[in-house]
Amino acid sequence: MAGATETSVVRENTSTYEAIAALTVGLAAVLFFLGLAATVEIVSITGSLAGLPTLTALGLLLVVMGVAVGGFGLLSYRGLFPTDPDVSVGIVAAALFSALWALLGFLVGAEALGLGLAGGVVGGLLIGAVAFATTAFPREDVGSTLPAAALAVFFGLVFLLGVVGTEWSWSPANFPDSQSVTFFARSVAPFAVMLSSLVVGWAAAKAYGGFGARGRHLGAYLLVYLNAVAIISILVALVAFVVFKGIGPVAEGVEVGLGVGPATTVSLFGFSYDVVWPVYWPFLMNGASLFTDITGVFPAIVGTAWLVIGAVVLAVPLGVGAAVFLTEYAERGRFTAIVEVATNALWSTPSIVFGLFGAAFLVPRFTPQPQKSLLAGMITLGFMLLPLVVITAREAMIAVPDEYRDASAALGVSKWQTIRSVVLPAAMPGVVTGVILGVGRIAGETAPLLLTMGGGSFVGAGQRAKVLDSFQLSLSPPFVTNPELTQATTALPYQLYQVVLTGTGETAGVTDITAFGWGTALVLLAVVLAFYAVGIATRQYFRSKLSYE
């Protein structure tokens, strides 16, 4: 209640001030999006904006915002605004501002004024020191607004006075010709606009909160919220872009109806009959061939499916078993500590190192001649999945309350029986979620496959891995052989890499490689995200169920 009255009182006194500050924050947001739009060339730097040349308009906005924010600081310092500033803005903000200004000073000194490296360093240090002094020493309201305002006004004047015009460009002289870089106004200006709008927006949000604890809170929250929004928008934009680009090739020629699809022969106990699919989806059901209209990724889908099955069959029992031993049997000591370090080290080992290991250890061991094979790929990915299974299964088992175990033990049930009938079922949701998410991760893994499994850039439907049909029994060891398992094959991520290697053009019946690549990327993304969606949904389901208990 006390808080409520206080807020209303503050609001009464400061309504104009707060309104202007909020307006400045809003203006900063507008400016930020203008900068973003200019980066992706929706707004042209050489064109015009609201009747003015774009650069002039942006410069004008920057100066206005800079003056507004600087004005807040000075008016608050003179006590004309009812603010509550601290003694100083703090070392973090001061360090960031002085670094920013030192960089600017360096660039201006070394390049714009042509003073060379020494001049740049002197200019950078000088301006950095001035910025540090302005930020750190005065009261918070001046310290946090003036350097921000100066930045916006500086860039604004640079654009307004035509120092950086539309035709402006700069290439650093000390870069060799074969590695030269040129900065144009069209890339520098949007960046400068976005940078200064962030800084000014932060300062204006602080001013809105009246500086002090509340001002800092608002300024920081603005940035943190912006960060979260940016991450989610990047995710959405990425997925939407792949869907947008890939949906065309993937959906091409889809037919639904009785008898339109390919025939699958099912043989059971000596009888065999054909099943005709009621759907014909060329991109998913065709391979690469000169004789089909639409090239598809069917062999790659089969390869990925076998990889996932192999990896899960290897890693899940091993990982769950290890987790059982670690949580239920082993006493905490040196052995468990070593295992823990080993699993964490395995978890963070780069995938390409797993690939090297698979190439050195597994590839030469299944056939007389070293040969990349589906089996080697399966085992390598299984090894990658293993630490994840151990870690999540352990977490799930540790989370099972000890009362469960005690209650079971009190009934005279033996340890293994307790584990089997109490601990494992209770830990199952966590294990299942972890495995599904882990599978999603390895299904998209490419690097190990290059070294252990991948073969053939565009594979026909007939050359898919027919693992089930190819088991052969013999009387001499090793009793069971399967040539399909010991042969190189393809998988979705590997297929996409082959698209990149091929570049553009026409190969093996693929008319538009890039479109085919987008289609493959979409299918791969759909497979992986489906695993993630199922995994996250499972977790959510079990969590809501458990919270009722």
Binding site: L223, A360, L496, G517
Partner: protein, 377 residues
Amino acid sequence: MATNQQRDSDGWLARLSSRFARFAEFVQDTDNDAVVAGAVGGLSLAGAFVGFLVTSPYTSVAVLGFLAAVAYSWVRHQELAARGVTLAMTVSTIVILALITFFIFYEAWPILQDRSGTVLGLTIPGLEMFTTTAWTPAEGTPRYSMLPMIQGTVLVTIIATAVAGPLGVAAALFISEIAPPTVREVVKPGVEVLAGIPSIVYGFLGFTVLSPWASDQFALVGQGTYLFVGIVVGLMALPTVVSVAEDAINSVPESMKSGSLALGTTDWQTMTTVTIPTAFSGISAAVLLGVGRAIGETMAATVMLRNTPTIAEPLYNVFYGFETLTSLIAANYGSSSGLQKDALFVAGCILFLSVLALSVGSQLIEQRMEQKVGGVE
């Protein structure tokens, strides 16, 4: 000194003998058939391992022997069998790590020996790979310098950390402390899904969209920049940073935060003065793990870089991207043989060791954090 050693070895012997005595007691207490089955199982597992190493067709016989021993003891002595089998599974994680270490160093050894250099009379294997700057495997006197790739990896990792570190920690703070529950239910899975997007998809996007755009924006000669590879890799390392940092922030006891809030601080003040300092070691462990991810990221780099190992000049020229340690392996493994292939394993060793160091380091830091927070409660 001598007595100290004596005592140490005494203690070591005593421990070993007591352990042996306990083992003998255990064997004595256990039924004979269980002991035999255990011995057969253990021996045939070891046999299968050796058989696999020497590519013997009799590996499958040993595997069958192991399965038979397990099946027998599962029927007769389920308790012991379960314990033994899970122990074997646990040991396998250590064995896999040991095998990885052994095999990548074993394959790298020939070139390390071939390119050794002498410093102050000491012969250091592989020194020549770090004192020259050229990677020219196809020339008359082939040179295999790792320096261009190390420069690439360092530049990419620095940029990626600059992206993933601050943004990741801010997102972790947002998820665990700031976001209202409904928003959290969107952002948290969103960050997880970001981790799920396969690196080759990022790479394909970068290759078809980002790289051409960057070349146009900065008038570059050809395609491929460390800057954009670094940004993409940073985006990929972000979820690792977020999830580990979030765990660290969540492990700060609620009582500490409430105590601070009860003094009338704002949420942000509590975060900067209580939550972040307490969780600091956990947060730095998160950033370290993120660095590890960035170092090891392969496909985005392979697809977006030029794959012609050259030193970028000046050394901080991030607008040109040539090769990282990971992309060197991925791009060259298929077409290389002999010393060049061994050189790729050297790159693998560097990657493995640096990431291993980061992983162990972050675990030590996390342990410290656990002790610290545990002591507060």
